[in-house]
């Protein structure tokens, strides 16, 4: 099964001044399930279209299984029909003049698969995607979600080694989405297909993918396992983009004029290096610890708002003008307006510098911090806490 390598891949559409994909390098290993995640217009579709060969690159290189399929330097381009890569289009691109069944078996017919086997494979895949009953309808007679499943079935029937999926589940309801997700996972496990998957939905990305590549404005921001991306966002964009409710951001550099606020509380406990370089500090809502008792490491805060979100709660906290959000999966015992104490454990804090890049703590710094902290709260305690509060259970 194939590996896909992109090297400094850049695409600038004719007439655009800004490249839609800018110097993207990444490798999708054989059998990997990678998700491209990013806001609208960041170039996800463009990358998929270039890998499939519908669009050509402006510079850089694409290799599938060590075979260069598109390279400006080598003046090489292999057309999509010879690449044997499956692509499910974002807006389906079903053939309006063919029934659902003909849409699905078109690829098999082209491959001259015998009629009997073709029929079986079609029925099988249509059954799995729950579109068997629409086999004789035309695409215009289907709902958006049904069309989307036909588009998926059309590719799955051929069972290509590489499958590119452009938001293949965006139009489905929650139940169907779960089912289809399971189906995709199963497919991936059974055939070992290399899958690149585009999604807006981080939850979907977290649950499905082995690897997530986060993009913004055509550039790759971070690539890593769902856990890495969540726990160690490599820059401010990733930190803010991943996580729901959104990560709390605390601006550190504007704090000078205010006597006491969250920023000064945090800075008071940080190493010299960090307080000098860090511009912004961030903490995930579930990592804030609320207690009744005040210690030297807590901040007194007011509960402004408690919002149930079905099995979990989001609590809005205020300290002066600063607002923080906390989320928890156990029913909060406080009421709105209560005064409580919030602990922002240092190991859970993310620091970003002026350019938004993550400030890496050196071992020295960590030791120092731990020494300072150990008297107040043993660090393993909130390590535990952190684990149970993690909303995205790690995938097996």
């Amino acid at each position: 099964m194939p590996t896909i390598t992109l090297t400094n891949l850049t695409k600038c559409y004719d007439g655009n001044t800004e490249p839609s994909v800018n110097q993207v390098s990444l490798t999708v290993e054989d059998g990997e399930f990678m998700c491209l995640l990013g806001p609208s217009g960041c170039g996800k579709t463009t990358i998929l279209r270039m890998i499939a060969g519908i669009e050509h690159s402006t510079s850089g290189e694409i290799a599938v299984d060590n075979l260069v399929v598109d390279s400006v330097h080598q003046s090489c381009f292999i057309p999509p029909e010879q690449r044997r890569i499956g692509l499910v289009f974002q807006n389906y691109a079903l053939w309006p003049h063919m029934t659902v069944e003909r849409n699905v078996d078109f690829g098999l017919r082209l491959q001259k698969v015998p009629a009997q086997e073709r029929k079986e494979r079609c029925l099988d895949v249509m059954g799995k995607l729950r579109i068997l009953e629409y086999a004789d309808r035309y695409p215009s007679q289907l709902s958006g979600g049904q069309q989307q499943r036909v588009a998926l079935a059309r590719m799955l029937a051929v069972n290509p080694g590489v499958l590119l999926l452009d938001e293949p589940l965006s139009n489905l309801d929650a139940t169907l989405r779960l089912e289809m997700r399971a189906e995709l996972r199963r497919l991936h496990q059974t055939f070992g297909t290399t899958i690149i998957f585009v999604s807006h939905d981080q939850w979907e990305a977290m649950t499905l993918a082995n690897t997530i590549a986060v993009m913004n404005k055509g550039q790759l921001q971070q690539i890593g396992t769902p856990d890495e991306i969540y726990a160690e966002p490599s820059n401010r964009f990733v930190a803010e983009f991943i996580g729901n409710p959104k990560i709390n951001l605390i601006k550190l550099k504007e704090s000078n004029d205010k006597p006491i606020n969250v920023a000064s509380h945090i800075l008071a406990r940080q190493s010299q290096a960090e307080s000098r370089l860090a511009e912004v500090c961030a903490i995930r809502p579930e990592e804030i610890i609320l207690t009744d008792n005040a210690t030297s490491h807590t901040l007194p805060m007011t509960i402004e708002n408690i919002m149930p979100t079905g099995g979990s709660w989001v609590i809005e906290l205020s300290f002066g003008e600063d607002r923080l959000f906390h989320s928890t999966q156990s029913r909060p015992k406080w009421r709105e307006g209560d005064q409580i104490n919030a602990n922002l454990p240092t190991p859970s804090l993310h620091f970003f510098d002026h350019d938004g890049n993550r400030l890496a703590l050196t071992d020295n710094d960590k030791e120092l911090d731990n020494l300072l902290l150990s008297s107040a709260l043993p660090s393993h305690k909130y390590a535990n806490q952190k684990h149970t509060n993690q909303p995205y259970a790690k995938q097996a």
Binding site: G53, F77, P80, A93, F106
Partner: protein
């Protein structure tokens, strides 16, 4: 291999070679190039030869110009533009032509848009029936109307058989019988169906979701009509307007019949007269003027297309028909549409039909009626001893018409689709816009001038191409060239509508170019393709100017046959032939609709 790509930006040369590697896998590039060469020869060469003629001393003019035949001269330009007779030669006809074209565009657009909306988007009574009936005037030759008009309104200004009103004792004034008013009236009747077709198509393809979302936002119907629907169909409106305008500039038959008796000249009739009186140089200048008007039209068109490209919506998806309830206006609306059908279809056809069974015009007594002109035998007329349905020449001409016009419209329909394909897919922008413009070029050239140029170019053997004059081939290729504007426009529109995605999806599935064309593009485009064949067929069958010059008796077609009968003053037989032309055009429409299962009134019935 990673390092190479990582190290430096690609050079210009590498980029060019890469683009070539990409383009190599896009057959549209090859198709585009082949078509470009083909049309350069078929269309550009005749046009250039006309332009060159206006600067070259023509044979017979040596004495006047004091120069040798074939040498460079400005004589014709000066004579046509600045001399004492330039007013008659050029300026007055130019003014008349523009006035006719403008009047026709304004009136046919206003009426056509209303009719298109009524037929496509409302629950007007009898809309399925009207959808077909409204198209009929477009299937009739313009000069059918002109003949019907003279049958009724002809006055003493010209000789021959009198008009009905005249024989009933009512004298019609010249301004009603001839000139601007009847010409515009007839052209409006003729071109309104074209507006209905083009705008109706756009209206039907318009995704109702767009209107719905505006409605959801609380927009009143008026706002929706003016800020959503109108802008979206504006490309269709503009393209209809331009087609009609350009067509009117070149219109020959109607002003020939209705303008000439009162010396009301247009550029096309002026051109014909110049050719007829062997003033080839002057004719070339007039032709050039017509072409300049056409070039301006073309420039507007190019700009418009640029604009239209920005909001191409994704096609290929079905949309639901949603009809506006007219309520109490349901019947009055039908009355309005019915009136158009009455004036545009029933009255002219009835008039013509009655004229073919009346011995003396305008006398409505029983003994004046006879079917002899259709099926009689042993008639006492000199050249026509049988009714036309029993005359072998008639059947030969009918067969010629079907073969010549049928095959040329097939060819132009397929070429049109290929042009559309190449224009939208070709990697080289230049080839695409060259194709767009060159296929539009025949519109700028009046049919008469085009035919003359074809005659001079293809009458003798040139290179690998043998002499074609006297064969059906010269008519076929001339017709193909003449009909390319229609065909390529509908091809481009269809391919734009289709978008790239269905084909891209087929490429992903591993389909090579032939499978893609055969299984995806052409089947999806069956409807537009049928239209692209049908329109040239209908307009070709009634064409006059090309045939007048290029046909010889052995390739006689129905139009030339009927004109000859008219020359002999066999008005009844001539009108009978004209009716048969209308019948064949109508049958052709029905046939193509049956074959493709779609066509003009497509989607209206269900």
């Amino acid at each position: 291999m990673l390092t190479a790509a990582e190290q430096k930006k690609p050079t210009l040369w590498q980029r060019a070679r890469h683009l070539f590697a990409v383009a190599r896998h896009e057959p549209a590039n090859l198709i585009g190039l082949v078509l470009a060469i083909f049309f350069a020869y078929l269309i550009l060469a005749p046009v250039l030869s006309i332009l060159v003629d206006s600067f070259i001393v023509q044979s017979g003019d040596e004495a006047r110009t004091h120069q040798d035949e074939g040498s460079f001269t400005l004589y014709y330009i000066v004579r046509t533009l600045y001399s004492r007779i330039s007013e008659i030669l050029l300026w007055q006809p130019l003014y008349n032509t523009l006035a006719i074209a403008a009047g026709t565009v304004v009136f046919s657009m206003s009426i056509g848009v209303v009719l298109a909306w009524l037929v496509n988007r409302t629950n007007m009574a009898g809309r399925a029936w009207f959808a077909t009936a409204l198209i009929v005037p477009f299937m009739l030759p313009t000069w059918t109307f002109a003949l019907a008009w003279t049958t009724i309104f002809k006055n003493r200004t010209v000789g021959g058989q009198p008009g009905w009103l005249e024989s009933l004792g009512i004298t019609t004034s010249n301004s009603v019988a001839y000139g601007y008013f009847p010409i515009v009236f007839i052209l409006v009747l003729h071109y309104t169906p074209l507006v209905i077709l083009i705008v109706g198509n756009a209206l039907r393809r318009l995704d109702t979701q767009m209107e719905d979302s505006a409605r959801v936002l609380g927009a009143p119907s008026r706002t929706i009509a003016f800020s959503i629907v109108l802008p979206l169909i504006r490309p269709a409106l503009m393209s209809a307007a331009l087609l009609i305008f350009a067509d009117c500039i070149g219109e020959f038959a109607v002003p020939y019949i209705l303008g000439l008796p009162v010396r009301y000249d247009t550029l096309a009739t002026g051109l014909y007269r110049a050719l007829d009186t062997r003033q080839n140089g002057v004719a070339a200048v007039i032709a050039a003027v017509i072409m300049i008007i056409g070039v301006i039209t073309l420039l507007i068109d190019v700009r418009m297309m640029k604009e239209a490209r920005r909001f191409v919506t994704v096609g290929g998806k079905g949309n639901m028909d949603r009809l506006r309830k007219l309520g109490r206006m349901r019947l009055p609306a039908s009355g309005f549409v019915g009136a158009f059908v009455l004036i545009g279809v029933v009255l002219p056809l009835l008039t013509l039909f009655l004229s073919t069974i009346m011995i003396l015009p305008g006398r409505f007594t029983l003994e004046n009626f006879t079917f002899d002109y259709w099926i009689g035998s042993n008639l006492d007329t000199v050249a026509l001893s049988k009714g036309i349905l029993l005359t072998p020449e008639f059947w030969q001409a009918a067969w010629n018409t079907i073969v010549i016009v049928g095959s040329s419209s097939m060819i132009s329909g397929v070429l049109g689709l290929l042009v559309g394909y190449a224009v939208l897919r070709c990697s080289f922008k230049g080839v695409g816009s060259f194709l767009r413009q060159i296929t539009f070029l025949p519109y700028l050239v009046p049919g008469i001038a085009f035919a003359a140029a074809f005659l001079s170019l293809f009458a003798v053997a040139r290179g690998p191409i043998p002499a074609l004059y006297g064969t059906p081939f010269i008519l076929i290729i001339a017709l193909v060239a003449e009909k390319m504007p229609f065909a390529s426009r509908s091809g481009i529109a269809a391919m734009t509508q289709l978008g790239k995605e269905p084909e891209e999806a087929a490429r992903i599935a591993g389909a090579n170019w032939f499978s893609r064309m055969g299984k995806i593009v052409i089947p999806i485009q069956a409807g537009p393709l049928a239209t692209g064949i049908l329109l040239p067929f209908i307009s070709g069958i009634k064409g006059v100017s090309l045939f007048i010059i290029l046909a010889i008796p052995s390739t006689d077609v129905l139009t030339t046959y009927s004109l000859r009968l008219l020359d002999y003053n066999y008005d009844q037989a001539a009108n009978a032939v004209v009716l048969m032309i209308a019948l064949i055009a109508w049958l052709g429409t029905v046939l193509i609709q049956k074959i493709s299962g779609t066509g003009l009134a497509q989607g209206l019935e269900n």
